[in-house]
Subunit: 428 residues, 2 copies
């Protein structure tokens, strides 16, 4: 099917500010609550939120096979279950409805009032009910940095890392959309030099710059997804901040992996940008020749994506400092390889499952995707624009992640995931 | 509220075979499909499945605040959300309806035909939609055995183990009810003495004898549950077989924990036995004096439960051999401590979340809860009744776990979780 929605020459009759992440070529999917307290599935063009439930009721999706209430739901899971063909038909149709040359909705003031909202007047929700959340660990630079700090500087990468897209299961119940603040967690830590643990607020709260992809129902239990079919089962991507408590992690993670150090919160951007919209930004990933992956992980073609990523840190009532510039293309293992690996043992993947990339660190120190790496374990504090220093995240700090793709013709972006760290929870 | 449902002197007008796990004092909750293809929430007495949806429609729950379709659902999540007070009212009411001295349903043949099914005529389903699944590692004997085999025999327990109810996140999407067969997983392993991994079917498929508890909505994000309040948020328990592939696990698990070695399948018994029904079987757990747990894990009273556990292995078309006798009371960390620890960082716990105990090994070799321990890593094969030997589970083997509590007055059991290992998946 032609992705007419990707036509870079298309313009919309809705105003799109210069450098917007959301031109008519993007058409991401999300869920929002309107001023009238109605929850609906929607998309975004420029600074407008568009109610797809209302569009469906007004018959704008005629001819596309959809259940009657497909967009009048509080999650995208059912729509994602409908599969890639349907996603494409709907995305093409939306591009057509908002095309500058299409008068149907453009010239119908009454309908526009029902369908289109100022983005400031809606409240973005979690776009999917996340059944299972998996986090990978697929940036070679990140794994190397962590290995240098915590294990052996000369053998920083563990023996399995270049063979396996290492991953582990995370907690779905504490994934929240951008804008929801997060409490500093309490927990057990082992103070340096001590043998007995203590309990209290984490002293090393960190972010992890990640992206995540959202899957559709991909397989039955037992059935692997061949690596070359995996992209048919990836709906789209979001920005993802995998909040971490480094001191809790250090004490708890042997032998079964991170647990309370991670499951207090993860934050995601609310608009899912489809893999289709990212198509023009495919690029080659890092070479995988030494060693070559096992056959079930070998793929041809380009499966990395050139997505510029940025992290900002804003102290309470203070100006934001950009502390990291990275890129999704640095990932050693592609999303396809992650999904092929995840299912090679027959693990079932469902609509709405979320898979995080792991921290996306690049080759240069300013591209490291966590405070742990940026300050090298707290040894080299970061200087903020207001003169303050940071080893880790402090109460009142807001962490903002942004991401976008850009070529000569179009910019496709993710907006942002922004969340503030609050002091430890206390009962009112 | 008095737990009149626990009255040991009560008898039912439904026949209960001798040594049944399901006397009228049990009243577990489950979900089943009837011969007429209707899915409903139900309970079990003796060898009868009872349709609670039908009972509700016939007005048997009058006076208890329940939404109209509470039991006409395909999961127990909403009912569990209603909280302990409601669970108790319903359980007491069911005990009353089926009390030998209550003629209302007993003498109404027409209604009995709608409400009561032979257990052989219903198909048990997964009783809850499991949002998040956590697996703990709380048997000291199991952790010690694993430590001896894989790490250091002289320092088998890791330094954090006696301070932390160690746990990690598992995969919800592949939890299946008793009776569903499981395919042998394929994956990467590192053959002994080699430096390059190979791909193929696991050669060391194992069971893990576990129990699991199911929670209700327990907290808001950020809010810890104090250890002495945790039992209010535990609905009930099931038997749980956490299938494992030891060779895949060994190669993948450093540093982020088990992943594909576990997430191909876990099997659970279909009837959730309430914590209330287990009340008479409370007992003291192992002493925790050396070291004392940190304050947030300290509890008074008895929080272990005396539940006899058994594992049987039946080769294809062969007789079953009992290969393990253990007990839930051996767990070092109680469910209360597990839940208090899980939430101490503010991790949100929802209705239908499932938390596994970890392998339940006792002090004697015949009480070890996995083939890994029973055969000491394959060194001492088990002899089956038919003369065959087993180091790990072979294709066609069925693993059956059973559990029950018994005192002089009553036996409360879990039935069984039984599942067969199939050869690796192949596309038809």
């Amino acid at each position: 099917m032609t992705l007419t929605a990707n036509d870079p020459s298309r313009k919309s009759w809705l105003n799109v500010p210069e450098n917007s992440d959301f031109p008519i070529q993007n058409i991401p999917f999300g869920v929002f609550i309107t001023k009238d307290d109605v929850i609906t599935i929607g998309t975004r063009i420029g600074d407008y939120a568009i109610d797809l439930g209302a569009l469906q009721q007004l018959n704008y999706f005629e001819g596309i096979e959809l259940t009657d209430d497909m967009f009048m739901q509080d999650t995208l899971n059912d729509f994602i279950s409908d599969g890639k063909k349907t996603w494409r038909l709907v995305r093409n149709r939306i591009a057509d409805i908002f095309d500058i040359n299409n008068p149907k909705l453009r010239d119908n003031e009454k309908q526009k009032e029902i369908v289109i909202f100022d983005i400031k007047d809606v409240e973005m929700q979690l776009p999917v009910l996340i059944g299972d959340y998996t986090d990978f660990y697929s940036s070679r630079e990140h794994a190397t940095n962590v290995g240098k700090m915590f294990r052996d500087p000369d053998n920083a990468l563990l023996p399995n890392w270049l063979h396996i897209p290492v991953g582990y299961h995370g907690r779905s119940s504490t994934i929240v959309p951008s804008g929801i603040p997060v409490h500093r967690p309490k927990g057990q830590t082992l103070p340096p030099g001590e043998t007995q643990p203590v309990f209290g607020p984490s002293k090393r709260v960190d972010f992890e710059l990640e992206m995540a992809f959202i899957t559709t129902d991909a397989n039955i239990m037992g059935e692997p997804i061949p690596v070359n079919e995996t992209e048919d089962h990836i709906f789209g991507m979001v920005l993802f901040n995998d909040w971490s408590a480094r001191d809790i992690q250090k004490w708890e993670y042997v032998p079964l992996g991170p647990f309370l150090a991670k499951n207090f919160a993860s934050s995601m951007s609310p608009w899912i940008v489809t893999l289709d919209a990212l198509e023009p930004f495919r690029t080659a990933g890092p070479e995988q020749n030494d060693p070559k992956p096992l056959e079930y992980l070998q793929q041809t073609g380009e499966h990395a994506f050139d997505i510029k990523l940025q992290v900002g840190l804003a102290p309470e009532n203070g100006e934001e400092t950009i502390i990291c510039n990275s890129n999704f293309k640095y990932m050693y293992w592609s999303m396809s390889q992650q999904l092929a690996h995840h299912t090679v043992n027959g693990c079932r993947v469902n609509s709405g499952d979320l898979m995080g990339s792991g921290t996306i660190s690049g080759p240069t120190p300013d591209s490291f995707g966590s405070m742990l790496e940026l300050t090298w374990g707290g040894q080299n504090p970061l200087k903020l624009n207001n003169g303050e220093e940071r080893k880790f995240i402090e109460d009142g700090d807001t962490v903002i992640m942004r991401g976008y793709c850009q070529n000569d013709e179009v910019r496709i972006g993710f907006g942002e995931v922004s969340s503030k760290l609050l002091p430890p929870f206390s009962k009112k």
